[in-house]
């Protein structure tokens, strides 16, 4: 908790920055108690002049991968493990968002993602190097792909 407090003090939760990388909207969705995987999302802006690549995300889970989806005309979803990472060209913003690119935290094994808590992680860029980030764990009914937020307290 001391570490979390220190992080909160140094950077506003939900954002992080290195010399050339600005990371915003860093969030993960809460999961069911027995869930084995959770998704992480964020917006990465390369403010530098060198093309870069997010090659890995490190966090305290048995496995963390970068994924994208492919949907064919039959509506079949294929999740794809991006072994070469995600390109972040100079001057551009890449968005990891629901239904598209995401970080997959795998092997939760009884430690679900709980809304209000956070996940500390390190983004590894080919050029910019390691960038520490904190994922805010949020409820799904607050933010989801269809742009509606009327809550139901059932």
């Amino acid at each position: 908790m001391t570490k979390l407090a220190a992080l909160a003090f140094l950077t506003a939760i939900g954002t992080a920055a290195s010399a050339d990388m600005q990371i915003a909207d860093i969030r993960a969705f809460e999961t069911a108690p027995t869930a084995m995987a959770g998704g992480g999302f964020m917006q990465i802006t390369n403010t530098g002049t060198t093309d870069d690549r997010l090659v890995a995300v490190e966090a305290d889970f048995p496995r963390v991968e970068l994924h994208s989806h492919d949907f064919d005309s039959e509506g079949i979803a294929r999740m794809i493990h991006l072994e070469d990472g995600i390109a972040v060209p100079a001057g551009e913003t890449v968005t990891l968002e629901p239904g598209g690119l995401h970080v997959m935290f795998m092997g939760l094994r009884g430690s679900p993602l709980v809304a209000g808590e956070t996940v500390d992680a390190t983004l590894i860029f080919e050029e910019a190097g390691p960038v520490p980030v904190t994922f805010d764990i949020v409820k799904r009914d607050m933010q989801h792909g269809h742009g509606h937020s009327e809550g139901h307290n059932h």
Binding site: F29, E30, T31, A32, P33, T34, A35, M36, A37, G38, G39, P62, R63, H67, H69, F71, E74, G75, I76, A77, R78, M79, H81, P98, G99, H102, M104, F105, M106, G107, R140, D141, H144, G145, H146, H148, H152, H154
Partner: protein, 201 residues
């Protein structure tokens, strides 16, 4: 010249009438929107394991208009989004006084135990039913609904599953009514479902 113009006008009127008639016929066939397809071929009997561990059939599960989705819980993005959308549609219909069921059928029985599908579905809607089964039971249910799934190669704990993402609207008496694509909004699902309920009531 005059007769040519007259002829063209007649042709245009005739063509217009043709389109009108075609649309009217089409509207009769699909009064609830363009996601409807010919029924009969999709759906049918299944036997699966409920989130309380009992063996259940389609007759036990589909007791009211029901949205059925096939997915897996080791799927942090697509399945929760689609399942969430269906739950939202159910809440919207509930606000209109319409009671529908929502069902999630796992296509990953080795990992999706009774407890896992129960927790997963309760996270979206307290009445959502999570179903799993033996690999044979799941395969039979998937084939009845013409869905596709295939586990990718990989670690036994971390493998991914390719799968269809349609949601099916089915009724207890008449079976399959229509399906929704994953880009249909909660409003569209609710509206079309309400239309079918109105039609079939």
């Amino acid at each position: 010249m005059k007769s040519v113009i007259f002829g063209t006008t007649t042709l245009a009127v005739a063509a217009g009438l043709g389109i009108y008639v075609w649309q009217a016929q089409n509207a009769t066939a699909h009064p609830c929107g363009d996601t409807a397809v010919a029924g009969g071929a999709i759906g049918g009997p299944f036997e699966l394991i409920s989130e309380t561990g009992e063996t259940v059939t389609d007759a036990d599960v589909i007791t009211k208009p029901t949205l059925i989705y096939f997915g897996y819980t080791f799927c942090p993005d697509v399945c929760p989004l689609d399942t969430m959308r269906n739950a939202q549609a159910a809440y919207m219909l509930e606000d209109q006084g319409l009671d529908i069921g929502t069902v999630f059928i796992s296509v990953d029985p080795p990992r999706d135990t009774v407890e896992v599908v129960r927790d997963f579905t309760d996270n979206f809607h307290e009445d959502m039913i999570g179903l799993t089964g033996t690999p044979e039971q799941v395969k039979a249910a998937s084939q009845a609904y013409k869905t596709y799934y295939r586990a990718q190669e990989g670690d036994p704990e971390f493998y991914l599953v390719d799968h269809s993402t349609q949601t099916y609207l089915v009724f207890p008496e008449t079976g399959f009514a229509t399906f929704f694509r994953r880009d249909n909004s909660p409003e569209q699902v609710a509206e079309t479902t309400a239309c079918f309920i109105d039609q079939l009531a």
